[in-house]
C-alpha cells in the first residue's frame, strides 16, 4: 500500500512520521511518498493533504499543474484525508471568519463548507479531548491551530466529531476532513481509519 502526502508546504513530515510508525506497529506493509508531480500521484493508493496555508498550497499546486489531476483522481475515488488546510482545499465553499468571502481556488471535491479561522487567531489555538464514536470510546486529543470548522452541504456527509455545536471532523464516501491535527499527537487512530478505507 502506497500512501502519498501532498508535499508542497506545511506539516508534511509529521504525517510521514506518523504513517511510518503506524505501518510498523500495526504490521502494514506500506510505503510513504511525497506527491508533488503527476507521476508521483499516479503511484499512490491514498493521499493526505496536510495542514499549512491553504492559499499557499493551492497556488503552488496550480502552478505545478497538479490541481485538475488531483481533483479527477479524488472524484474517481482516490481516498483522501484532509487536515486543516487540507480540508479547506477539499471543501466546496470557503469563507473566512474575519475577512469573510474571499476568492480562493480549491479542489472542490467534498460537500462541506469551511469557515476558516473559526476560533480566532493563534492566541486562541487550543487542545481539547474529543469524542469520535466512529473510532472508539477513548478520547482523542484534538489540537486546533487557527482551525476551521465545517458545515454540511449534503445528506451523505457523516459528522465524525463535534466540538460543542460545530463540526470538526467529517466523512463522505472515501474522503475524511478533520479540522484538528492528529499528526501533532502520538495517537494514530484517525490515520488508521484512513488506512482501512484505503485498503477497502
Amino acid at each position: 500500500m502506497k500512501i502519498g502526502v501532498l508535499g508542497f508546504q506545511g506539516g508534511i513530515y509529521e504525517h510521514v512520521n506518523m504513517l511510518k510508525r503506524l505501518f510498523s506497529e500495526e504490521k502494514y506493509s506500506g510505503e510513504v511518498l511525497l506527491v508533488r508531480r503527476e507521476r508521483e500521484l499516479n503511484k499512490v493508493d491514498g493521499i493526505i493533504l496536510p495542514g499549512g496555508e491553504s492559499t499557499t498550497i493551492g497556488i503552488i499546486m496550480d502552478k505545478m499543474g497538479l490541481t485538475s489531476e488531483l481533483r479527477d483522481k479524488i472524484r474517481d475515488g482516490l481516498p483522501v484525508l484532509g487536515v486543516c488546510a487540507g480540508a479547506v482545499l477539499m471543501a466546496k465553499k470557503v469563507v473566512d471568519k474575519i475577512v469573510g468571502e474571499k476568492e480562493q481556488d480549491t479542489l472542490s471535491v467534498m460537500d462541506i463548507g469551511v469557515i476558516r479561522n473559526y476560533f480566532g487567531r493563534q492566541v486562541e489555538s487550543f487542545e481539547v479531548d474529543l469524542h469520535i464514536p466512529e473510532i472508539d470510546e477513548k478520547a482523542f486529543r484534538g489540537v486546533f491551530i487557527r482551525a476551521p470548522v465545517f458545515e454540511i452541504l449534503n445528506d451523505n456527509v457523516e459528522i465524525l466529531a463535534k466540538l460543542g455545536k460545530v463540526n470538526v471532523a467529517a466523512l463522505q464516501n472515501s474522503m475524511i476532513a478533520v479540522a484538528f491535527h492528529p499528526e501533532l499527537t502520538n495517537d494514530y487512530r484517525i490515520h488508521l481509519l484512513f488506512l482501512k478505507m484505503v485498503k477497502r
Partner: protein, 349 residues
C-alpha cells in the same frame, strides 16, 4: 549536484512531534514541583492535565505547533495593507508587519521600534494568512501589547534597537509563540530554552546579501554534526559553554536538527537565494527588504514562494528564477563595507 541534494532533501526526523513537546514539559517538571512549594520563579511551561474536557490554550503543543504549518513557505516583510495584499496573492504563508523595511532602518538610523498597532490591526483585518510583528529584544511591554492585539507570532528581533542589551524576554510567560534570530547552535538553543517556538538565522538584514544567512545556517547545521561525534563528557562541557542544559543538546543531536522549526532570514533577495537556504537545511524563509525594495515585487514574491517550496527540483527553481529579472533586484550592500557597529546580527547573543 546530485549527491548533496540527496543528502539534505529528506526532512524526515524520527522523533514524533508529541515526544519533542513532552521533552520540554519533562525539563520543567522539577521546576514545577519547586514552584508548587512556592520556591521558584516561573521560568518554564506548565503542563496541562492528561484529560482535557474544556479547551486549554497556549500549551507548548499549540505554540510549537503553529510554525510547523509555516514550513516550506515564505514569510514576507510588509509595511502596509497594500503590500500585505500582494504578499497574500503571491502565496506567502504569513506576513511580518514593520514600521520600516530593514533596508530603510539602516538608511534612516535612529531608534527602530515596534510597528504602529493600528497598521498591524489593519493588516490583520485584511488578509487571511497569519500576521507576525517584531518587538525589540527584551521589551516585555511591546510583546504584551502585540499579544493583546492578537498577532499570530512575535519576532524578538535584532533588526529593531534592543531594549535590553543583555537579556531576552522569557517567552514561556506568553500565550503567543515567538521566533528568535540566531547565528549559531548555541544562540539557537539558548533562545529555545527561553521559550522560542521557532528559530531563524539572523543573516544581515536589509543588505540583500545572502552570505551571512548562509554562514549562520551552516554554523547551526554544522554545529549539530560536530557535536554528534563528541564523547559524552565533551558534550556536557559544550552544553555548559553554550549555557543550555545538556538534555536539550542531547535531544538536538538525537533528532539531527533543531527541536523547533528553523527558517532562514537576513539578506534573501532572489528565488535562487531562497532555494539555496532550503538546500542548506532551512524549513522555510523570511524575506525582508528583498521583495518590496525590488522593482518587481509581485512577480518576485511569487517566484520566491515557488522556489522555496520546490527547491529540490532544479527545473522549477530555474523557472522561478526566470520569472524575475536581475536588473530589478535590490542593489544590496556588501557586508565588508559595513562597520562593526552597523552590523545588526551582533545584537542579543
Amino acid at each position: 549536484m546530485e549527491r548533496p541534494l540527496k543528502f539534505s532533501c529528506d526532512r524526515y526526523y524520527s522523533v514524533s512531534f508529541e515526544d519533542i513537546v513532552d521533552f520540554f514539559y519533562r525539563l520543567a517538571e522539577l521546576a514545577d514541583r519547586l514552584r508548587e512549594e512556592g520556591r521558584f520563579f516561573e521560568y518554564f511551561p506548565r503542563k496541562p492535565g492528561d484529560r482535557l474536557d474544556i479547551p486549554v490554550k497556549a500549551t507548548v503543543r499549540v505554540k510549537h505547533g503553529f510554525p510547523i504549518f509555516q514550513k516550506g513557505g515564505v514569510c514576507m516583510d510588509v509595511t502596509n495593507v497594500e503590500q500585505a495584499y500582494i504578499a497574500e496573492e503571491a502565496g506567502a504563508v504569513s506576513v511580518m508587519v514593520l514600521d520600516k523595511l530593514p533596508y530603510d532602518v539602516r538608511k534612516t538610523g535612529g531608534v527602530a521600534r515596534m510597528a504602529d498597532p493600528k497598521i498591524i490591526e489593519n493588516v490583520m483585518n485584511s488578509i487571511t494568512i497569519p500576521v507576525m510583528a517584531k518587538v525589540r529584544i527584551g521589551h516585555y511591554t511591546e510583546a504584551m501589547i502585540l499579544e493583546r492585539l492578537g498577532v499570530d507570532m512575535i519576532d524578538e528581533s535584532e533588526v529593531l534597537t534592543p531594549a535590553d542589551e543583555v537579556r531576552h524576554i522569557n517567552k514561556w510567560l506568553f500565550k503567543v509563540p515567538f521566533v528568535n534570530g540566531a547565528r549559531d547552535l548555541g544562540e539557537a538553543l539558548r533562545r529555545i530554552s527561553e521559550g522560542a517556538s521557532m528559530i531563524r538565522t539572523k543573516g544581515e538584514a536589509g543588505t540583500g546579501n545572502v552570505s551571512e544567512a548562509v554562514k549562520h545556517m551552516r554554523k547551526i547545521m554544522g554545529g549539530i554534526k560536530k557535536i554528534r561525534n563528541m564523547d559524552m563528557e565533551d558534550r556536557i562541557r559544550r552544553a555548559r559553554e553554550m549555557g543550555i542544559s545538556s538534555e536539550l543538546l542531547d535531544l538536538t543531536i538525537r533528532i539531527g536538527r533543531l527541536p523547533v522549526v528553523n527558517f532562514a532570514a537576513g539578506g534573501i533577495a532572489t528565488p535562487a537565494d531562497a532555494a539555496l537556504m532550503m538546500w542548506l537545511g532551512a524549513d522555510g524563509v523570511f524575506v525582508g527588504s528583498g521583495i518590496f525594495k525590488s522593482s518587481d515585487p509581485l512577480e518576485r514574491a511569487k517566484a520566491i514562494v515557488l522556489a522555496t517550496s520546490m527547491w529540490s527540483d532544479p527545473d522549477v527553481v530555474l523557472e522561478a528564477q526566470k520569472m524575475i529579472s536581475e536588473s530589478k533586484s535590490m542593489v544590496g550592500i556588501d557586508i565588508k563595507s559595513l562597520k562593526p557597529e552597523e552590523m545588526l546580527q551582533s545584537r542579543g547573543v
